[in-house]
């Protein structure tokens, strides 16, 4: 049956490609996107839609290097306070408005000043942007900001049509007008987002699809079933446990790459009363827990080995990973010794909260079993996600199993979590030297100097374990085997340049 279907599908596809018929790509997303306004939105899947809909000033390669998109070239002045960008001259927005320096200035200004903007904090260092000439702008920052390019390679750097934005105001998200390879057709909330090929796209030669439809299907098995039945052509975030089965299916192609994010256990070391417990106060206990975990086994059992074990905020293949601290082997003897020395030879208890989904629960149950073997009695509290964030912010936890989707610039994975003033520092970690280092790494564009500072901070973090890092999830995509040209990128986006159905 399956063979027959595949054959029929291939024949159909071949006929379509041969006859030059419309190529449609239906992509299954895990969630529905929020409002499609780059300045207002916050969902991950929203960013996937933008990749087809809205071009950015800068793009990122799979090796996380910055490459031109709407900006062709950029350079800093000597004291690193002015970023001058040259712009493409052949770009128009979907509504025909030309893309020029004025448009960039308008967009930067909107990201900074629209009251509903979620981007203002990301580019808080920006004082303003000015037109140099028709195709050049200069962006002024109050002090050196190493993260700015990464921000401009994401939503803060997405350019929307000023004319459309003026006309629609905060309602822009219902009918977005950008300059990406595809333009907006229609959206039915929680059902579909439909885009069509934009004929005046500057890089149109690389675009082979005529329409793209994004369909939110939250259940992972149902998403895979839809792909198998041919109702979808591609799905994102295939479950790690389906990785092998899908890879063995000849009708499907599976692609994966280690993501930028991490999962770990944030320890409450200084946020309110619950930091007063043994694990909040005694470094040795956090060390012991860290050493009690077999990260490779965790990855094998919970994720069939599809993810990457980790012990730092950056994945092991990141240029900012500190090789002096490789992912440790499990060392239960040393863990027991540490407990012994700290006077907890007869055992110690720790409560950890985690999101109430099967995956995170299983992760914590595995860790619970590993910790029990060294004498740490971990009790688990499964908590609905929004409640968990609330508890975390309020300091009502000893340990919290939580993750971060990851940012291109290393600063985004560490500063806000482990700086005394960090906005997401729910564990209450505060250390003068690490603050200096994290601030220092944020305010220089010298990559080597930044790496040195992160490394020095790692020495302290590795000894203190305020966050016990566990693993780095992988992005896993599955698609019809006839689709070619898809390049996985650690940022999890689906770039459609070069993607097409193979002509047979």
């Amino acid at each position: 049956m399956k063979l027959k279907q595949t054959a029929a599908l291939s024949a159909l596809l071949a006929a379509m490609a041969g006859a030059g018929h419309a190529q449609e790509l239906r992509i299954g997303l895990q969630d529905d996107a929020d409002a499609l306004d780059p300045d207002q939105s916050r969902t991950f899947v929203g960013r996937i839609v933008y990749t087809a809909l809205c071009d950015k000033l800068i793009d990122i390669t799979p090796d996380l290097e910055f490459i031109p998109q709407l900006a062709t070239d950029w350079s800093w002045n000597d004291d690193e306070t002015e970023l001058t960008m040259q712009l493409r001259e052949d770009v128009v927005f979907h509504d025909g408005t030309p893309f020029d320096a004025e448009a960039v200035v308008y967009n930067i200004d909107r990201s900074l000043n629209l009251p509903e903007s979620r981007r203002s904090s990301e580019i808080a260092s920006v004082e303003g942007a000015e037109v140099v000439d028709e195709h050049a702008v200069v962006i002024t920052v109050s002090q050196t900001d190493a993260t700015l390019l990464a921000q401009l390679a994401d939503r803060a750097g997405m350019m929307i049509s000023p004319a459309a934005a003026e006309e629609q105001g905060t309602d822009f998200g219902s009918n977005p007008v950008c300059s990406g390879p595809f333009s907006f057709v229609e959206r039915v909330q929680q059902d579909r987002i439909e885009l069509e090929r934009f004929d005046d796209y500057w890089n149109g030669d690389d675009i082979h699809l005529d329409t793209v439809v994004f369909l939110p299907i939250p259940d992972t098995s149902v998403r895979l079933a839809n792909l198998r039945s041919g109702d979808l052509d591609m799905i994102e975030r295939l479950a790690a446990t389906d990785f092998q089965t899908a890879s063995n299916d000849d009708a499907l192609r599976v692609e994966d790459v280690v993501a930028l994010g991490y999962q770990g256990i944030t320890m409450n070391v200084g946020n309110g009363e619950r930091a007063e417990g043994p694990f909040g106060q005694e470094t040795a206990l956090r060390q012991a827990l860290h050493l009690a975990i077999d990260r490779e086994a965790l990855n094998q059992v919970a994720f069939d080995g599809a993810f990457a074990p980790g012990n730092q905020p950056f994945p092991p293949d990141s240029p900012f990973y500190d090789d002096r601290f490789p992912v440790p082997e499990r060392d239960p003897e040393r863990a027991r010794e540490l407990l012994e020395e700290a006077g907890h030879g007869d055992g110690v208890t720790l409560e950890v909260q985690m999101a109430n989904n099967p995956v995170q629960t299983q992760v914590m149950e595995i860790i619970q079993a590993m910790a029990a073997e060294v004498g740490i009695d971990v009790s688990l509290r499964a908590t609905e996600f929004a409640t968990m964030l609330d508890q975390q912010a309020a300091g009502n936890f000893e340990g919290s199993q939580v993750g971060w989707s990851g940012r291109v610039d290393p600063d985004g994975n560490i500063h806000q979590f482990l700086h005394c003033e960090g906005g997401l520092n729910d564990g209450g970690w505060c250390h003068e030297r690490t603050d200096e280092l994290l601030d220092g790494a944020r305010t220089t564009n010298d990559v080597d100097a930044r790496k040195d500072m992160y490394d020095e901070a790692r020495e302290i973090f590795d000894a203190e374990q305020p966050i016990i890092y566990l693993y780095h999830p992988s992005w896993i995509w599955a698609m019809d085997a006839a689709i070619e040209g898809f390049v996985p990128n650690p940022d999890g986006m689906i770039r459609l340049e070069g993607v097409r159905y193979a002509a047979e």
């Binding site: 309602d171 079933a225 929004a386 906005g423």
Partner: protein
């Protein structure tokens, strides 16, 4: 009759008010700060403060309730925090979806439940009765999400007969729209069929024992006529009531079924809204569904009166 309806409608007003107050206060008991949920990964203090201010979360509870209520009376149910759209527009968009699913599910439920109920009552104690009971019990006890996934694997992945999930509006493509709804409506329908079957069965059993049925038989009427024309018409009265109530429940959205088949109806909207603490959406939907429920109740009572003349006097 009309005065009965009018009186019931008047009673409905305080009911809706009480429900709205109840729902509004309930979600303040929900743990989790809506602003935290809304801000997502960008939860720096300034953003949180700005969002709180913007959505009036700093006002006292009663002020928030009063503002919401006065807006609601003007047909403005507020703005969705998550989707940045008016709640009224979202509801208007979802209502036809859920309505279609509810109608189709009820058709399945009636088509399966009522004949099965009649058969098992007429053949009480026979193997047919046991089979019907077994089927009804299975429909009730098999979890929707499990049956849903099995159906998707069988019908869509293996046989390729129906689309696995998704939704097309009836107005755009009626045939495809019905196709996409068949499986979810069937899954929902099987569960409801059980209730209908049991009600039909017991009502039929009662009626079949009554004097007028004996008289009808004594008159020498054929058994088919006795059952379908005399017994069933009376037995259907409670079944109609139950159907109307079930329909009211269906309008509240079938959360799991909609999630599995990715149908963008009320159920999915309200679940997403609860998880993202999108209060305005939750309030709006609960208000609309409770009104729908009250209306369905009223409809059931009215139907009762039409079907059963004896009820009319006491009204």
């Amino acid at each position: 009759m009309l005065s009965f309806i009018a009186r019931r409608l008047l009673i409905a007003i305080p009911t809706v008010l009480i429900i709205s107050f109840f729902v509004f206060s309930l979600q303040f008991l929900l743990p989790g700060d809506p602003v935290l949920a809304m801000a997502g990964e960008e939860r720096d203090p300034e953003t949180l403060d700005r969002l709180r201010e913007q959505y009036g979360f700093n006002d006292p509870f009663l002020v928030q309730y009063f503002n919401w209520l006065t807006d609601a009376l003007r047909g403005d149910l507020g703005q969705s925090l998550r989707m940045n759209q008016p709640v009224t527009a979202l509801i208007v968009e979802k209502l036809p979806v859920t309505f279609q699913l509810a109608v189709m599910a009820l058709i399945f439920a009636m088509a399966i439940g009522i004949p099965m109920g009649i058969l098992s009552a007429v053949r009480k104690g026979s193997w047919l009765d046991y089979v019907a009971n077994f089927v009804a019990l299975s429909g009730l006890s098999i979890p929707n999400f499990w049956l849903g996934i099995l159906l998707i694997l069988l019908v869509s992945v293996n046989l390729g007969w129906l689309p696995a999930s998704g939704y097309r509006p009836f107005s755009v493509d009626p045939w495809l729209s019905i196709q996409t709804m068949i499986m979810p409506a069937f899954v929902l329908g099987t569960a409801l069929a059980a209730a209908l079957m049991r009600h039909t069965r017991s009502a039929m059993l009662q009626v079949l024992r009554s004097d007028y049925v004996r008289t009808a038989r004594a008159k020498g009427l054929r058994e088919k006529v006795v059952i379908l024309k005399h017994a069933l018409r009376n037995a259907l009265v409670p079944v109609v009531t139950v159907s109307a109530l079930l329909f009211g429940e269906l309008l509240a959205g079938a959360v799991l079924t909609e999630q599995i088949f990715t149908i963008p109806g009320f159920g999915k909207l309200v679940v997403d809204a609860v998880f993202s603490r999108d209060y305005a959406v939750v309030q709006g939907i609960v208000l609309v569904t409770s009104v729908a429920f009250i209306l369905m109740n009223l409809l059931a009572d009215t139907a009762y009166m039409i079907l059963n003349p004896r009820m009319r006097d006491g009204a």
